[in-house]
Amino acid sequence: MPQIIVKNLVKTFRVAERESGVWGAVKGLASRRHRIVRALDSISFTLEPGELVGYIGPNGAGKSTTVKVLSGILVPDSGEVRILGYVPWKERIQYVANIGVVFGQRTQLWWDLPVIESFDLLKDIYTVPVEQYVKSRDELIDLLSLADFLDTPVRQLSLGQRMRCDLATSLMHSPSILFLDEPTIGLDAVSKIAVRDFIRRINRERATTVILTTHDMDDIEALCNRIMVIGNGKILSDGTLSELRSRISNERHLTVHLANDGIDIEDPDAEVIDREENRIRLRFDPDKIPAATLISRIASRYPVRDLFVENPPIEEIIAELYRTIK
């Protein structure tokens, strides 16, 4: 049975609008115009326990709104949600004891308290038995290498340290579902990798279901076996990364290193996208021409030193998909 069931979820926001300038402000006092924004426009999906799902979409697509409705913070206009048998916004208190949430741009740690005190507070808030809490805490401190700054007040932590602490916070009560809203935002490469490794381990070792929203395609590529794309409040695509690739564009790239400069490659089935001295990148459709045929043809006509075929970078795929939304 699915762990998360979402059916026809709709959430709208009223956005107050007024004309700019002084006169606009004065007019706004008398009457306000409102525009209804459909942040979620009939979203449906189900998730099985232990899945690690990437939830992506351009800014304003409805990612964060989905996470907020699913975590019981916002009340939707209509639609059904059942997670672990709870309706999040109706049985919020019982429900949130079973989930962990991290918003990458916010922190739930107590600003002025040392990290360890924020942690200890959780034990009482979640009424976790002491032994279980200590085990979970020590494990998380170890996995996320937090030992060095446990006594530092949260306000003095770097962003990477803070994010690791926030991740630990969200897992202290061993939730069965973890919502991560842009957990790698603003982190440096080392921290990003640490966070990714940690998410993967938690998903594997604790079998925690993870829903991850991100703009970082490396996160998606490194972690997610299922990707949902949302745009304008609708789910546009739901499947594996390779399914997403083949849906958007079939093209492959062939990069050719030539033995000498100043040669142009011309081929009826491939198009040059860029060239850098003797390195030329070509685009082709494998349905029209098999890669093997194209390679042997080019190798026979030009002085090739090296060549390789690759998929277009995932960023380009997603950018293409976002373009079709607008």
Partner: protein, 263 residues
């Protein structure tokens, strides 16, 4: 229950860190106390009609009001305000606790930690050098102490309503300015309530604000006999219950309309 105690104690410990703010607050309260006492002295020296309170009582009343100034629900919890402005309030809803109780607990910490830091030194200084008297009698002292518990629960109920009101970001700001002004005047902080005109007395005594400062202060100076403490406690309890019920209703509506600011 344990969760709420944990929150109160964590916040309490946190607020005790702010020593500089406590010293600055102490200075401010001392200064305003001086100004008020000087005005009352001038007033009592120039009047011939007998007043409902003696000058020495008024002076003690004033220093009490100054000492417990930060107990008054004047200001909204800066952290809650920031939380709502920046959208961190989302995390409050992710805690498996009742939100009203959570915010009331915060108010309890605010209403006890800050006054504790400021009232004790002010008490000592005012008693030693500034004409503040000890309680009128031992009974008065106990009656005052009991009514302070009532004053704290009442102040926290009002503070919590202020916190909830900022869920309506813009109109909440207006509300937040009106309530403190009312607290300032009707709690007796600006002028002891007995010195207001006779026609206003009944209303002033019935309003919840009297229970915040005026009634306890008058128990202390003996202007209200200690055996009447039961009426004071009833006044505070009834208003606390009404305001808690109102706050809960307001919060229920507030979370339904809530929008998390800043994405």
């Amino acid at each position: 229950m344990k969760a709420y105690f944990a929150i109160i104690s964590a916040r309490f410990r946190m607020l005790l860190q702010y020593r500089a703010a406590a010293i600055a607050g102490f200075g401010t309260q001392l200064f305003w106390g001086f100004v008020k006492v000087m005005i009352y002295e001038a007033f009592y020296r120039s009047t011939t009609t007998p007043q409902p309170m003696e000058l020495s009582q008024v002076i003690t009343y004033t220093w009490l009001a100054q000492a417990f100034f930060t107990l008054m629900p004047f200001r909204i919890d800066a952290e809650i305000r920031r939380m709502i402005r920046e959208g961190n309030v989302a995390y409050e809803l992710l805690k498996p606790v009742d939100l009203y109780n959570l915010w009331y607990s915060r108010a309890v910490a605010n209403c006890t930690a800050t006054p504790l830091l400021r009232s004790i030194p002010l008490f000592i200084v005012a008693m030693l050098w500034l004409g503040m008297q000890p309680p009128d009698s031992i009974a008065s002292g106990f009656a005052w102490a009991a009514s302070m518990v009532g004053a704290i629960s009442l102040a926290c109920a009002i503070s919590t309503i202020l916190m909830i009101a900022i869920l309506w970001t813009i109109s909440g700001e207006g509300f937040m300015r009106i309530v403190p002004a009312m607290v300032f005047v009707f709690s007796g902080n600006i002028l002891p309530l007995p010195l207001f005109p006779d026609w206003a007395q009944t209303t002033l005594q019935l309003l919840p604000f009297a229970g915040l400062s005026d009634l306890p202060n008058r128990l202390y100076v003996g202007n209200i006999p200690p055996e009447h403490v039961i009426f004071v406690l009833a006044h505070q309890l009834i208003w606390t219950l009404i305001l808690v019920a109102f706050g809960r209703w307001l919060l229920k509506r507030g979370t339904r309309i809530m929008v998390v600011q800043g994405g």
